[in-house]
Symmetry: C2
Subunit: 186 residues, 2 copies
DNA sequence: TAGACTTTTCAGTAATTCCTGAAAGTCCAG
DNA sequence: CTGGACTTTCAGGAATTACTGAAAAGTCTA
């Protein structure tokens, strides 16, 4: 393993816990991400110095995140793993999975809670807070859903635009304001 | 604690590990979020059944995330804690902190790695991958920086717009395309 | 269908993270 | 100063999570 790979893999291992995955999984992913060819479990285990079974579990985990692709090589019974090429595609699956695991459960808890009828004033305040959180999460995740469907090119363009979208929004507002004024007979 | 709070707090405890915080911290935050008045550490400890010291640590953690606000009540030496009211503001700090802890370190590792000169073809491929990841992360985090500065109203508007921004982009593209054609004398 | 090759499961151990109670630290009023 | 009201620190135990080696299960070929 070159010094470059070494450092990259190392970093993903250390960050692992912050990202909510473990060291092993992080390092396996990092190794696959940099590799210019698919690797099999034995190669991974050997290069990273993990037990074969640990690698097996780690790969299963990565598969459940849809972050690795399994393929076979002709004349070899081993399973080979690689990561998709398009980084935007990777980003999309990452966001989608995170959403499924980390926000959807919360969203449904909030939805259920919102069916409650408040009796005390404290409870009514709590419900208000719950509603606020729910609305925010719903709005942002809908937005993600929506924007995620754009192709990589458009997405990049949108990102580059950044807060300049504000200008567009401002323009729209001026237009609709003017429209309202006219409608009201000013 | 009402059944409503109970469930909410419980959920934040369970999700804690997925969010990269621990049970205690999650529950403390949840309790404060719903509360209609600031709470002191003893009240929190009592309501959640945690030791006083555990609550102290948890609150320190939340302070480091800038997610709670400390205040004093006249005639009481205890410290009282609450969460900000504006959920968008909360969201912004959350994103900012996550970025600082979870992406910035990676970004600087990638930047350093990009200074390397590849010798083998494998290394050159690795560098290419590193660059791709770097560019994506840089682009998205710049975008966040940018958009985060918008006020809550505009942000909501932007979110509601969703992928309809695509149309605006498409319109812009048509315009600049037309411009190019004209410039080229078609 | 035996047997070689491969992946998965799992019980036990190692490592890490969480939590507590006790002690130490801080701050202020008298 | 001193005592009391409060907060923080920290060593050690509890709980959780990660990892391993061995055994089981699966899969293909001869």
């Amino acid at each position: 393993m070159t010094a470059l790979e070494q450092r990259f893999v190392q970093h993903f291992g250390e960050m692992g816990s912050r990202w909510g995955i473990n060291r092993t999984v992080g390092q396996i992913y990092a190794l696959l991400y940099l590799s210019d060819r698919p690797l099999n479990a034995d190669e991974i285990a050997e290069r990273l110095g993990f037990s074969r079974s640990n690698v097996s579990t780690g790969l299963k985990e990565l598969e459940s995140w849809q972050l690795v692709r399994l393929q076979h090589q002709t004349g070899d019974r081993k399973e080979y793993f690689s990561t998709p090429d398009d980084v935007w595609a990777i980003f999309r699956t990452l966001v989608a999975e995170k959403r499924k695991r980390e926000v959807d459960p919360t969203l449904s808890m909030l939805r259920e809670a919102m069916l409650e009828t408040p009796v005390t004033s404290a409870e009514s305040h709590a419900l208000q807070r719950i509603r606020a959180m729910h609305d925010l999460i719903e709005l942002t995740s809908r937005w993600f859903d929506d924007v995620q469907r754009l192709d990589s090119r458009t997405l990049t363009q949108l990102m580059r635009l950044g807060s300049k979208v504000q200008r567009i929004l401002a323009a729209r507002n001026r237009l609709s304001q003017a429209g309202n004024r006219n409608a009201k007979g000013h």
